[in-house]
Amino acid sequence: MTPFKAFSRNTAKARVFIAALSVSGTLLLAGCSSGYETEEKVLLTKGLVTELEEVSAGEYKITNETAIDDTSGSQVIAHHLSGKIDTLSMQEVREQQHQGGSSYHSHGMGGALMYGMMGYYLGRSLSSPVNPGAYRNQSTYNRVANSTGRTITNSAVRTTVRRPSSGSSGFGSGRSTRSFGG
């Protein structure tokens, strides 16, 4: 599941400050002890595969977007004018988004991805609509918006993100050497 911030609404009555969480150990409460900070977020529970085509040198348009069950299987498939096809995982897309430059912005993929459905996975708010201009043509936009768009938005879950007032982690570390099934 890809969590991202759709809108930030701070409903906290009492602010709580949490010390840095170590990999193993206890989350310490440094501030006051009652209540915790909450924030509403939207979680996308479906994954997305976006296909792009380089329609003219350096200009990319979305040709298809498909919802998939597994959010970790999200990817971008780019068909370049040269005939080369690139398949990028979300990790790679995000890296390029952050690094900018070469194979992302100069290829003009960034804009199309950000203003299509994929934009929701890259940090754009779900309340901001998809831009038809990111798609190859109006019928592609209509088709994607009516099928995939509905699937993605209807399956998105609004959830309250909150900070635990205390907590522990690091249990069971170093125990991955055998199966615990049977």
């Binding site: 969590p3 909150r162 635990p164 007032s165 907590g167 982690s169 249990f171 570390s173 199966s179």
Partner: protein
């Protein structure tokens, strides 16, 4: 596709050898494409190009056995809880409260699934319980995916296999959501990190998604447990996602014995209804092989049970199997014949637990000396069948997985 010899065969005494159907050997690349390369990796001789034929009446016998055994387990669990027989089933003091609470509230704390391992049936003998993997049963990717792929490769129809685990797991997840109406249907799935366990958790995730749950995988060590606020995953510098449901492919006895601090937090989380954990804590009781001695006491000579006690003295002149109450994957098992000579033994990681002693029951076998153990999944109802075989009496990690197909008369 069914071998001609079967057409006129006498159904009731068909040997294992005559049931075997050779299928096309599916290439490694095929399993890779399905994300199952782990099962065909280096040094893995686990999947085969054979399938075992099972008559429809035998499928029925497996289903009835699992339903009836589940009822026996429920009755025995109530008995143990009423009489507080915790020491007899090896339940530590720190687990008692959570077992009692989840059992009393089992309408809410749904038992997602388990697997009964059985002897008998395909050799014409009555079904006998070898053990019940009630908490963290695995072999699910093989049962749900590998079996279906082999059936397809043999050009058989989907209904020529008893394989509804995906469907019934999903139904159990829907039940879990309905019975916890105030909880957000998002489930966190955790393992201790072993690839085999992760692949099994994927099967659970798939079923949860079909039932409308959002899913997220996070290994146990990264999960944050808060006694006041519940179960969380940190997703950003200051962002913590709460989860109302947690699936753990981590045995309850591991948590109770090896991570008692976590056990204490989980007790608070569940008792304060901050999260529902599957499988629920009472499956630790079901999982204990100590239960099988209690079952034999409560239902002596029940046709589905093997004589089971807590003393080797009860088996003078009889072959028996010694197992530790929280052993897994065929580890820490000794098999002795009627003259007390070893017929088989496995060492393992679980030698510190107390033992039970179970009458030795020979599994159905073929001409090559391979012994076949049936695994019948139970997920609110009988859900799927698959087999493992081994050229020895103990079905362990060196066994092979065997798909099945339903024979036609």
């Amino acid at each position: 596709m069914v071998p001609a010899v079967l057409a006129q065969a006498d159904q009731h005494v068909l040997s294992v050898d005559k049931r075997i159907l050779f299928t096309a050997d599916l290439p490694t690349s095929h399993w890779k494409k399905l994300g199952l390369q782990w099962f065909v990796g280096k040094d893995m001789d686990y999947l085969t190009d054979e399938m075992l034929g099972v008559w429809p009446e035998e499928i029925q016998a497996y289903k009835e056995a699992s339903n009836e055994l589940y009822e026996l387990y429920e009755r025995a669990a109530q008995h143990i809880i009423d009489k507080r027989l915790w020491h007899r089933v090896g339940i530590p003091a720190n687990a008692v409260r959570l077992i009692e609470h989840t059992w009393e509230n089992r309408h809410q704390h749904v038992h997602l699934y388990g697997r009964f391992d059985l002897a008998g049936v395909i050799d014409g003998k009555p079904a006998k319980l070898i053990e019940f993997n009630a908490d963290t049963a695995t072999v699910m990717p093989e049962t749900t995916v590998v079996q279906q792929e082999q059936l397809k490769a043999a050009n058989m129809a989907m209904d020529q296999q008893f394989n509804q685990l995906d469907l019934y797991l999903s139904a159990q997840f829907r039940r879990l959501a309905e019975r916890n109406p105030n909880k957000v249907p998002q489930i966190l799935l955790s393992t201790l990190g072993h690839e085999e366990d992760n692949l099994n958790a994927d099967v659970i995730a798939r079923a949860a998604v079909h039932a409308g749950f959002g899913v997220r995988h996070t290994p146990l060590e990264k999960v944050i447990f808060s006694p006041e606020d519940g179960i969380f995953v940190q997703v950003g510098r200051d962002d913590y996602l709460p989860f109302d449901f947690w699936f753990k492919l981590i045995p309850w006895e591991f948590i109770a014995f090896e991570e008692p601090a976590l056990m204490d937090i989980l007790i608070k989380i569940v008792l304060n209804d901050l999260a529902v954990i599957v499988n629920p804590a009472y499956t630790m009781l079901f999982q204990s092989k100590g239960m099988m001695a209690i079952l034999w006491e409560l239902f002596p000579n029940h046709p589905l049970l093997l004589k089971t006690t807590v003393s080797a003295q009860d088996f003078r002149g009889e072959a028996y199997v010694q197992k530790v109450i929280f052993g897994r994957e065929g580890e820490n098992i000794n098999i002795l014949d009627e003259h007390n000579r070893y017929m088989g033994f496995n060492k393992g990681d679980f030698g510190n637990f107390p033992s039970i002693f179970q009458a030795f029951e020979e599994l159905p076998s073929d001409k090559n000396g391979e012994y076949y153990q049936a695994g019948i999944y139970w997920s609110g109802q009988p859900a799927a069948l698959s087999f493992r075989r081994r050229d020895g009496y103990i079905i362990d990690t060196d066994s092979e997985f065997i798909s099945h197909y339903i024979l036609e008369a």
